[in-house]
């Protein structure tokens, strides 16, 4: 029991290594490789959202905007601008997401709480209607099609990522790098201030931190991760549906994060995995599967608000640790 507890604690304190090891074996234990890739990209999306919600304590209900901008940016670069390099296209997608994050963050962060959430929602819906009506560029209702999946330029050679497994490896490497970057952000003094803001914004301000600016930077970082997830999804499906920008996409990432455990490092991935696996398995068996998923979600929100991973960690370290290991505070 003690060894096991030590193991879990090691996992929680070495999240990047654990995550890399886990996702290295992951495609071999899930039913579909493409499901494994989907968990990676949605997990990354939720991770980005969690930076803002779980660590900074601000609830955005419009994260579809940055996910969609990443997806459309990448897709349009390949399909319409005929960019030949995947890296270039991803760069354009990320650029679009960051610009979107900067603009939305600049305006939305002037309000707090429900007003902030509604502003982010409005911003995302605005983008949705723009994409819907600019059918000549975005494909509108029918979605953006015809995204070519060029071979990936890598150290002077080019590698095809068309096979499901090759694409998984590609996504795995990018997501691992993103996760490492996020860990670095959270471990920095900046990351500590984020959590200080979440716990008590007045006190953080009293300590001399520019709360608004830090929130803004966190917002843009979050948009960046969401945009990367969108870019990967556009390449994976070679189609960008206009629903990528719709509020239901924002809702889905909120559900995944809460289900897995907001404010925990692994939570978003656990949430994405649970949600997508349930959806994939249950929808084969019963037509009313959304009710089951909804009931599970409500059970967690009502009785285990820390989510699956958060509750699990709390249970493992229930009597041992004075400090939760999943919220590292620098010395």
């Amino acid at each position: 029991m003690r060894a096991w507890r030590a193991f879990v604690r090691w996992v929680a304190t070495h999240p990047v290594t654990s995550l890399v090891v886990f996702f290295a074996v992951f495609p071999f234990i899930v039913p579909h490789t493409s499901l494994a890739t989907q968990v990676l990209t949605y997990g990354l999306f939720a991770l980005g959202f969690n930076l803002l919600y779980g660590y900074t304590g601000i609830l955005s209900f419009g994260h579809a905007a940055y996910y969609g901008l990443g997806a459309y940016g990448t897709g349009l670069a390949l399909a319409k601008l005929k960019i030949a390099s995947l890296w270039g296209a991803i760069g354009i997608g990320l650029g679009a997401a960051i610009i979107g994050g900067v603009i939305a963050g600049f305006f939305c962060l002037r309000r707090r709480g429900i007003y902030f959430a509604m502003l982010t929602l409005a911003f995302a819906q605005m983008l949705y209607f723009i994409a819907f009506h600019l059918a000549d560029i975005t494909g509108g209702d029918d979605g953006l099609r015809g995204i070519p999946l060029h071979p990936l330029g890598l150290f002077g050679t080019s590698v095809s990522i068309r096979s499901p497994f090759a694409f998984y490896v590609f996504a795995f490497v990018l997501v691992s790098l993103a996760v490492a970057a996020l860990k670095r952000i959270l471990d920095s003094p900046f990351g500590a201030v984020l959590q200080a803001i979440r716990e008590n914004p007045e006190r953080a301000a009293a300590c001399g931190y520019d709360v608004n600016r830090i929130k803004f930077v966190s917002f843009v970082f979050s948009a960046f991760f969401a945009g990367l997830a969108g870019a990967l999804e556009a390449l994976r499906l070679t189609v960008v549906p206009v629903e990528a920008l719709y509020w239901s996409t924002s809702g889905q990432v909120v559900i995944m994060t809460l289900l897995g455990g907001a404010g925990t490092f692994f939570g978003p991935f656990v949430g994405a995995l649970t949600f997508l696996l349930l959806e994939e398995r249950l929808s084969r068996l019963i037509e009313w599967w959304p009710i089951v998923v909804g009931a599970i979600f409500m059970t967690f929100v009502l009785f285990l608000p820390k989510g699956i991973w958060g509750s699990f960690l709390a249970w493992v370290v229930r009597d041992a640790s004075p400090k939760p290991p999943y919220a590292p505070v620098p010395e």
Binding site: I29, V30, P31, H32, T33, S34, L35, Q38, F132, A135, G139, G140, D141, D142, G143, R145, G146, I147, L149, R162, P164, E233, L237, T238, V239, P241, V242, E243, A244, L277, E280, R281, S283, R284, E287, W288, W289, P290
Partner: protein, 405 residues
Amino acid sequence: MDRRAFLATGAAAAATFTFPAILRAQSRDPIRIGFPLPLTGTFAAIAADLQRGAQLAHEEINAKGGIMGRKLEVLFRDDQLKPAVGAQRTKELIENDKADFIVGGLAAHVQMAINEQTKAAKKLYISVSQSDEISAKPDTSPLTFHEALNPTITSRAMAQFGMQNIGKKWWVVYADYAWGKQNNAVFSDRIAKLGGTILGNTPYPLGKPEFSAHLPKIQAAKPDAILAVTPGADNVPFLKQAISFGLKKEARIAQPLHFLFYTKEGGAEVFQDIYGATHFCHELAETIPESKRYVEAFQKKFNQPPDAYSTYGYSGIKEIARGVELAKSTDSDQVANALRKNREYNHYKGKQYWRACDNKSFQDLWILKVRAPQQVKGEWGLFDVVGKVAANEELERTCAEKGHA
């Protein structure tokens, strides 16, 4: 339950969840058709009908010993009417469930997402719902077949019938999105070509069926007839408002398509005398022997008559079976070539054929008029078949117009 027992149960449950393939007993390799469709979402009723048609075809094929001695398996997956989910389910069907072919998709945008996956995986796909783009370049491919009607054919047929039988001066009310706009454009163009007049049109936001501000204007223009492109849940509110403003008495109303389920749900009081096109209705059983056989088999299995979309599912599955038998292979390219070479088929309503350039199915369609409440026959006899528009390439864009050289 102690912790060990709990863990053991949990592990067993997880294994069942993640390794179903191992638990499933494998007989001789069946031929697999993946079938994504929106079992949940707005079109669930139509999707269920589509599924029933496919199930009937599946059952009939296996009852006759399968395809080339191999059993047929049809794998239905819920795409939730979401393109991303449709794409995901299609990927899984091809990559892991080893589906040899894909049939399905309901709604243009989901078809497009499915089509991108089948193109990449080089699998034959038979699309079974309306879309103009799916059989035109750049979306189509030599492996993309389109069994359903499309907005161009439906609206041109309705314009042709309408000019002869309904009226010369028209007004178009349409939902302002891709399908609505396409119908409006094609219909208006055709009416003008046939010497009729479009007095005006009323676009409205899809899902916001509020017409009280528009109806007096339409009435003042005194059209002979109105084409109402008011899909799904907008249909009944439009008709109810048209009735309460007296418009239904002043002008005849037509819509591009009739669905039995929706008409039954809205009731003959609301739908009485409304015209609409369809590629199939169960009343055809009275005149066409193949339809009689289909309707009877369907009725026997499901204890209710088929609506139109069931036949798309039925025909889609049957065409794959026919193609495989002809090609003596499950290779998508060979099956596609075999279908193009032997282009005529007849599964449920008389002859249909594939046009070689775009793999588009050409088929007869019919114009229906809803009966008055006192004339409805039984529970399901809501339609009078008032016209037939025979399969005709004039009704579709030419190969060149669709980008095929």
